[in-house]
Amino acid sequence: MDTFGLTVVEWSRAQFALTAMYHWIFVPLTLGTSFIVAIMMTIYVKTGKEIWKNITKFWMTLFGINFAIGVATGIILEFEFGTNWSNYSWFVGDIFGAPLAIEGIMAFFMESTFIEILFFGWGRVSKKFHLLSAWLVAIGSNLSALWILVANAWMQNPVGTVFNPDTARNEMTNFWDVLFSPTAVNKFLHTISSAYVLSAIFVIGVSAWFLLKNRRIVFAKKSMLIGAVFGLISAFYMFATGDESARRVFNDQPMKFAAMEGLYDGEKNAPLVVIGLMKKVPTPENPKMNEFAFKIEIPNMLSYMAALDPNAFVPGVRDLVHGSEEHGIVSYYERIRMGKLAIKALSDYKLAKEIASEHEAQKHLSVFNQNYKYFGYGYYNDPHHLIPNVPLVFYSFHIMVGLGTHFLILFIVVLFFLFKRDIVKARWLNYVSLLTIPLAYIASQAGWMVAEFGRQPWVVQDLMPTLSAVSNIESKSVIVTFVMFAIVFTVLLIAEIKIMLSQIVKESKVEED
């Protein structure tokens, strides 16, 4: 059903994107500041110095404000799998539900229990137990990220599972394959390290504002030191895991990889586009493929990045659509044909089962198994509908990488000035640090967009297209909830920012010890 020109699938996607992107504004800061607060509290407990207690309490206050809204935006995501993606919930619930349940039992309880001690334990529990609680909050937060990212990684690279034609769903065959798939491991490490980088920039940026105001100098410099060291280590890790993630995408999601680089025609010794500007030349058959108006490239680099071999062939969008015998690429046309065979065979199998014709059922099952690999493609007729939005994915990827490089340099420069120069006098650096806070959020959202828009049109890569995952619901209901969440989350975001700013200003007015 179309409403305002969009289908229920598009409204459901819009709602999920809205809620996920709002949630992802707050979660990275929680993941990183939880550790930063734990580190600060450790120093306080070790040294007994009052300034570290004040530092801990201040960052803990900001952490609490951010944590609350992260919780608020998070609950809707879990239940949206059921409310808006009920066909998906059944199709993959056997695999996807398990990490969510484990997240609740293992991570959320740890987080919510010990956060109470963290906030209210001053003077009520021993210092050591209080400190342990701080670390357990950080571990709990990050464990929750682990499980949801394992679930997400499975959607990008479905492993450890088999399709059961009788129940018409995927069923888990190996829990460890799901948990330790290279996609899951990389996704987790890359995501949390990027979250740590964002948190470090937040700490550095806010501290820089104190320095610009010439307030709380010692307080700010100590906070900055923790932020910069934590950020620098995390940034190295972020680049290492990002590099490995790219190779995983190249292997498991070559279309996403081609979109990330705006590569339409594959080649050996493929160059890496460092900076590129796409011009809008829509063609009827390729509405999402905009050619470059301008680009700067590094020769051979893309081949090396993808396969650790400068001579490696990297397929482009057109190679994947039209196929290549030379490179062993099955065309999307062929995949669609096989997918349709699989869908029909499954339907025939179910009918044969209903009339208890076992022989017929086995015949159809055999056809189904031969073609199941491309099951999801059968929902489409035109291969061009299987191409993600290339400019969106390309720009998101390059913004993420470009800003990531800026963050790494910033951490090094801040540390240099902290140790070798007077950072209070380096006002330009403090301005840069402050202005980098919004850039960290942009990079973080861009990373999410690469992962999720790049996967389209799949909700589970190659097996389940987004259009078949949606609930059987009217689009007008989804429009109402979309508007409702858009208003509520925007209002809460404004409230959060205003409260944060007030707390920062309030702290800046405290006289230094």
Binding site: A72, G82, L100, A101, S477, I499
Partner: protein, 385 residues
């Protein structure tokens, strides 16, 4: 260890886990009940602050229990998750909305420059308390009264009413709407009873304790009326049974009553639970403050036992826990709605963590509640809400 259990035993095991989570959730709804009582303590700012802070130290445990209940239902009975959440869209969305606005309210309520003002956040807490309890109770009542949906041979579900679940609470031409609402209202008043008992346990303030005694009885009476109405109705109604061999669903007279009798442990649990709930209420009302402060453990424990038993009779003993009144054969039970055997085994190992989780929650609870909340503390606490 769990690999040696049969698939049917694993399904029962997971229904027990989900039921236990549901029962603990109903107990933890005292937070919601307390939020609807904030205005009952008059306009005295310090009394309100004490009440809000007593609840504020527990709100995220309730929240987490709800999320874990959802996650466990998704993992162990995904067809139920897909059918109920995708079908009764508006009921679940309203419940979620109520919990979204709660999550920020404690933290933001008294913070300077909080954009919406303290009164708005207080209103959010009240809305959460009201909608959260009534709608959750109403939704659970449909485990006994049924909903209108069908499921095709690919296990896609189709909700029949355009009101997307709201008809379960607002279609007043159906008798079962009243039954559904009676459980919703019973949960609402029970949560207020539990909240009164919780305040008596965790707050040191004479005025608040006196007020709580009155609130206890004011809410216990309507709770008992609605609860009795619901219980009598489900015990005398036809239940949704399935054939353990072929899976065919049929209506069976007094099914839920028979379930209590045929599963004597569950029946006993139900009776003990009800007695404990009543004992906690009466004891706290008539005895001195020291004895009254223990009432939460009797009524709370009784709540868990009673709700646990209700969940068990809705899903065990060949009973469909999510019945369809539109197409009887589409009704969901622990056999046709569950995850695969492998997933249930894997999840069962994870369930071994539950005792540890309960242990550290207990430790946290006793550490923070060792000393009761006082007015002086509220004035000096750095993080007071």
């Amino acid at each position: 260890m769990f690999e040696n259990l049969s698939y049917t035993t694993l399904q029962e095991y997971w229904w027990i886990i989900v039921s236990l989570l549901g029962a603990i959730l109903v107990f933890m709804l005292f937070v919601q009940g307390g939020q609807t009582l904030i205005y009952s303590f008059g306009k005295d700012k310090i009394s309100r602050k004490i009440i809000v802070n007593a609840l504020g130290r527990k709100w995220d445990l309730t929240f987490t229990t709800l999320v874990t209940f959802g996650g466990a239902a998704f993992a162990s009975f995904p067809l139920f998750y897909a059918t109920s959440f995708g079908g009764a869209y508006w009921v679940w969305m309203l419940i979620l909305f109520a919990f979204i606005i709660q999550a920020v309210s404690y933290e933001y309520r008294t913070k300077p420059n909080n954009f919406l003002g303290e009164k708005t956040y207080m209103a959010f807490l009240f809305i959460n308390g009201l909608l959260g309890t009534v709608l959750l109770g109403t939704a659970v009542a449909t485990f006994f009264t049924g909903s209108e949906f069908s499921i095709n041979n690919m296990n896609s579900s189709f909700w029949q009413s355009p009101y997307r679940g709201l008809e379960l609470a607002f279609n007043f031409t159906s008798y079962y709407t009243y039954v559904n609402l009676s459980l919703g209202l019973a949960v609402f008043f029970l949560s207020r009873v539990l909240a009164s008992l919780y305040f008596m346990n965790s707050v040191s303030n004479k005025d608040i304790i006196v007020k709580c005694r009155k609130l206890l009885i004011d809410n216990a009476i309507p709770f008992l009326i609605f609860f009795l109405f619901f219980i009598v109705n489900i015990l005398i109604k036809d239940g949704f049974a399935y054939n353990s061999v072929g899976g065919e669903v049929s209506l069976v007279k007094y099914k839920y009553f028979h379930n209590l009798i045929e599963m004597p442990v569950v029946g006993l649990m139900f009776v003990i639970g009800v007695v404990l709930v009543l004992w906690g209420i009466i004891n706290s009302f008539i005895k001195d403050d020291d004895a009254a402060s223990k009432g939460i453990w009797f009524t709370g424990g009784g709540t868990i036992l009673t709700v646990f038993a209700l969940f068990l009779i809705s899903g065990l003993n060949n009973t469909c826990f999510y019945p369809s009144t539109f197409d009887l054969q589409s009704s969901l039970n622990i056999r046709n709605a569950s995850s695969s055997e492998y997933t249930l085994v894997a999840m069962s190992y994870v369930s071994l963590l539950v005792p540890f989780v309960i242990a550290y929650i207990w430790y946290e609870w006793s550490s923070l509640n060792k000393e009761k909340i006082t007015a002086e503390e509220m004035e000096n606490d750095h993080h007071a809400y």
